[in-house]
Amino acid sequence: MSPIHSSLSGGMRQRAMIAMALSCQPRMLIADEPTTALDVTTQAQILDLIADLKEEFDMSVMLITHDLGVVAEVAEDVAVMYMGKVVERGDVYSVFENPKHPYTQALLESVPRIGGVRKKRLPAIKGMVPHPLARPSGCSFRTRCERYMPGVCDRAEPELTKQGESEVACFLYSSELADVR
């Protein structure tokens, strides 16, 4: 394999990987950051390829990525993870158009977008992801959250609960707020 793959471009290699993965006619394809190292035009082709193959072979695709654009481009359902936990889950339209979790909201706002509303400054999420060993008590996003509620968010971990079209793990939407002392 090595003599051949060295002469392939990044896009061709990724295609070869996909072909290898598909050779056993899987029911499900897990693609872990499949386009991260690729140029935009190549990325677009690979994403199109994955979408086409998904139709053709009638298989499920689990796409792991950090790029919100890529998600919007190919996914039907989205799960947003923060520090090892799913904080929001739903179909792609509700998550992108009506994000509920403050983390999802901040994430979507902090990406510059082409042709979007021109803002002088990007609304950035303050701070950084804590060290896994220094996980904050309660909701792990609370240290960076704009809507942190002292006495609530640091007491317990929010569960993923149904909110309209999607599920979200945040006390802002919790009807049992009172229960959390």
Binding site: H66, G127, M128, V129, P130, H131, P132, A134, P136, T143
Partner: protein
Amino acid sequence: MTQASTLPLADDPAEHSPVVLGPWALVWRKFMRHRLAVISGVIIILIYLIAAFAEFVAPADISKTSVRHTFAPPQMMHLFAPGDDGSTVFLPHVKGLKTTIDKEARRRTFEIDDTKIIPLGFFVHGFEYKLFGLIDTDLHLFGAKNPRDTFYLFGADRLGRDIFSRIVVGTRISMSIGLVGVAMSLVIGVLLGGISGYFGGWLDGLIQRFIEFIRSVPTIPLWMGLAAAIPLDWPPLRTYFVVTLIVSMIGWTSLAREVRGKFLSLRNEDFIIAARLDGLSHGEVILKHMVPSFSSHIIASLTLAVPLMILAETSLSFLGIGLQPPIVSWGTLLKEAQNIRSIAQAPWLLIAPGTVIVIAVLAFNFLGDGLRDAADPNAH
């Protein structure tokens, strides 16, 4: 997101200051975890101490011959002896030897005489010597309490000389050849490899062709040719120097290649470019950024090159074309064990220096391996 491996950040209010070690401290800590390497390091330090204080450590004068002790066997050292009242007391000693002369075979045979005890002691007075060639003394680390007693921990050779003492004194030559040889290859290798890697271009091409040439030539016959050309009547010091030079020619090419490779990969590292943009001169970039970046690797490679040189000296001297008697080195000692008849009669001629060589070589290998692991930022 993929920020998982970050330590608590400066602007994080919840920060608890982590212990931050410098890169050298990290290397040291990783090395200390490598137990075999640490032990080997201690052994090597011990060997060099013995080399430095050889006459003090050696109980017998290495040039003192004794016809009555030709091929005398090793005498084991015992720490305890039965005391007068039947109890066991601490008394380091060796058992004496009983000599019988086999007239037919015309040789002596020895037997350990259990009844005769030669007591040993620490810091006893023995033969006179000059410590470091300066201080007159006759003090020895250990020896027979009665200066007239002789004993042979590792046996005696054809002329009845003490092999233990000869090995101790030979340590000086054999171990220093490794060090001096490595120092020589270091200078040549780093100089040529550095020039080659940092400046590149035609200079690099020329040096690389030269190294390729040297490497494509079989080394052993060439050293043999060179070593055989050393006149036998040269003074020992000059012979020693030339043999070291020949031996050091083994190591420098691979070292030069390694240095060049490091320079080549580092030259395009962003932090090297950044240092240039900070206004540092070429020399400053090399000294401040490049050399520290690979010095730990170089140290490891050097450590691994030492045993090769020790073995090369041993081989050449063994063949009779390296160091010559009366110079005492591990190689010249082994030369005594060249034919099977003398080994059959006195196996210690082979076993004693052989074991010492293997221990030294192994220790260097383990140490070098440990250093290499510790220096490798990717290894865990």
